[in-house]
Symmetry: C2
Subunit: 191 residues, 2 copies
């Protein structure tokens, strides 16, 4: 998605430890118009797959998920990272590790919102090692719903998550695939 | 907002401790179309106020904020609840207490995204005791930006937050004001 790649080139900041900071349009300040275009692009890619539910994980996935759900005219469900008093006992859970935050967390989805017969598209902001995606995939499988694929905004294609999951037959569409980045050379993409 | 009140009457669940569960369209599963209408309603109410930034807090505020930002054609900034490796040192912070989760947390906004000259509309899913709103208000004031007002999806008007803040001259527009609720009588609204 050229519009997105241009934006990453222009506003992305490269930090220590292979961190690509896109705080000013994706993770902290959000460009709603760009996210609407991203949601529409996921729709273009998956419109023939009978998707009836979008699944993501809080917090950065929510805005992307919401715009994708709008494009598909279906509900968004977001996995929670901490147990809430508002969630009843009947939940799917999976542990995952955050590459950015260097911690382990539990993702939780109420059984009420994922059922056999659902056709689920997972969306998320980043794909690096694939930990969040593996967790969300497991939750979809546990629910008996059908996993259609994943829509990723930025894939760090120099890390193994994407290839590892594609080899297992998991369809992943990433709108910007970063192959290398450095403060000197900026961000390089592959198709 | 009649569409919202109807939805609360139909799908809201009343839990122990004055908890109104709207998990199936606002807090866990999200009805993106309804949220788009909510964003447009906030725009109708505040369109003459020169708003150039929407501010909310993760996680439940993000979807609402994103749709509101789309309606205003301006960026959304969401306060983070935990310190992230991705946030640089230059931040505004404020402590707040969660009514739902019964814990204290710190909200954080990067100084990069709130500046003097900004005209800020705060949006959030719930207003009860007003703790989150007071914290976000303080962050806006600390930044030197102008606070235009707040847009709340559901106000628990039987708790003191809304009245307390309005008495201080804070403009708050709530789309559904719950005056009482019980499993027997359901949810009652006031205008």
């Amino acid at each position: 998605m050229e519009l997105l790649k241009e934006r990453i080139r222009k506003d992305g900041k490269i930090g220590a430890g292979n961190i690509l900071k896109v705080d000013c349009f994706l993770n902290h300040q959000i460009d709603a118009k760009l996210l609407k275009a991203i949601g529409e692009e996921f729709y273009r890619l998956y419109k023939d797959c009978g998707v009836n539910k979008i699944l993501t994980i809080e917090a950065s996935g929510i805005a992307i998920g919401c715009m994708t759900a709008l494009a598909f005219d279906c509900p968004l469900v977001f996995a929670k990272k901490s147990k809430s008093l508002n969630i009843a006992g009947d939940v799917y859970t999976c542990k995952a590790t955050s590459y950015t935050h260097k911690n382990e967390y539990e993702m939780t989805v109420s059984k009420e919102f994922l059922k056999p017969g659902d056709r689920v598209l997972i969306v998320d902001d980043f794909l690096a090692m694939g930990n969040a995606l593996v967790g969300l995939k497991k939750i979809v499988e546990d629910s008996g719903a059908e996993l259609v694929g994943a829509g990723i905004v930025i894939e760090k294609a120099f890390q193994e998550g994407g290839d590892m999951l594609r080899k297992k037959g998991f369809r992943i569409e990433s709108l910007a695939r970063v192959i290398s980045m450095s403060p000197e050379e900026g961000v390089q993409f592959i198709d």
